[in-house]
Symmetry: C2
Subunit: 251 residues, 2 copies
């Protein structure tokens, strides 16, 4: 009952029933690419690395690297962030795996994409140290999930190598989807922030204005915010209260 004689062994069937030794099968290069996202000046930004080798020479690519023998995928992504952007301790989550046979013209590469979120200060520091930054401009109207336009600081289009424009697009889509049920907005801000700053971040991610009062109420009622008691400084108007992200204490 547990195992019938193999009847008309369909292709692929034998993989399982008989000798099933993974080491016998095709092997692939596995890479990890990271979409490092920050939000400022009303746009999302991402870190890019200029390519000076073929293929896609002169274009820009996401920071990435090949998986090593004894590291996990997440460790590889962490390593990439550390080596290419000198960043550590940032929010990092797996995004999607891209495996089109010809996505890399040299040889087949399976790429496990991650996305990471940092605040503006860390992003600028990483950008100066390491590489180039690109602004992400997405068509705010339609759904995003496909390729996305990336421009440089002067507004010129930055063509992305490989399928990286698609990866960036999927990162934006994921970020949008998580925004109102997971605490990702805070990851794009520093330690303390005002409610308006938090609102601007949400607006930047969503690509549309949000109602100020509703947003305040919702955020304050969510229990995710903790008032610091301190106030904004350096502004020429009434300073706003500074909040910090409250790690969900069990109610």
């Amino acid at each position: 009952m547990t195992k019938k004689p193999r009847e008309s062994a369909a292709e692929g069937e034998s993989e399982f029933l008989a000798s099933y030794d993974p080491s016998k099968y095709e092997r692939f290069s596995v890479a990890v690419d990271v979409v490092l996202v920050a939000a400022f000046e009303g746009d999302l930004s991402t870190l890019l690395v200029p390519r000076d080798e073929h293929p896609f020479k002169g274009q820009h690519a996401l920071p990435g690297g090949f998986l090593r023998k004894d590291e996990t995928l997440e460790e590889a992504a962490t390593r990439v962030l550390h080596s290419k952007a000198s960043l550590s301790g940032v929010f990092l989550e797996q995004l999607y795996t891209f495996g089109e046979p010809r996505r890399d013209p040299r040889t087949r590469v399976i790429s496990v994409a991650y996305y990471a979120l940092v605040d503006e200060a860390r992003f600028r520091a990483a950008g100066e140290r390491a590489a180039r930054t690109g602004r992400i401009r997405v068509p705010w109207e339609g759904e995003t999930g496909g390729p996305v336009k990336v421009v440089d600081e002067k507004g010129r289009a930055l063509p992305l190598a490989f399928d990286h424009a698609e990866i960036v697009g999927m990162a934006v889509k994921r970020l949008r989807g998580k925004l109102d049920y997971a605490p990702v907005g805070f990851q794009l801000l520093g330690e303390t922030f005002t409610l308006l700053e938090l609102q601007r971040v949400h607006e930047t991610v969503l690509g549309r204005p949000v109602n100020k009062d509703s947003f305040r109420r919702r955020m304050l009622a969510s229990g995710q915010l903790e008032a610091t008691g301190r106030a904004q400084s350096g502004v020429d108007h009434r300073p706003a209260e500074l909040y910090r992200f409250a790690r969900r204490s069990a109610v």
Copy 2:
């Protein structure tokens, strides 16, 4: 400006700047595992394959197979569904990629997990033809994302091989998350269905009762339902109207 002399080349740095040939790097076995999900009798069910080889002999595993040279990841998942469950044309979506170095004790295998949704009839047919089915029992209370318990038709625990319990748990979590903003509920039903049947499917996936009237209103207002004009038959009470899923015509 575009390229500085390499200063204190950190590990991993050289991967990018100098010769960057994917074929030089470590290669890995890449597998595709599929969580085939159906909903009936108040529980979620998934298709499992008994293992009669080491490791995890006697336990059950998700249907899976190794990626081939010239197929995409999705093609591999489709192939697995076809060869292991004789299914085609079902809803299929990438779930997550699992790459712990020792998740397979034989050799390192990167597994790209997919989940597929079918209605009860197709699931039963696939289950009889191919393998064993397992009921998914998840702790309805807490968040699911980690490993999940799977039991057989008699309620006995079915230990899952490898990290497959974790994969199943993630599939349940994804399904729950998508339920109220993507048309996934319909995938678990046949061509036509009553509103109550649709409600039961949602309740099964969510693991909690939902309000009947609100659910009706929400579904009817969503524009995703199309009345067939026909009514339920074979019930000893007033028959409900049969609906079908309306593929979103642009408004």
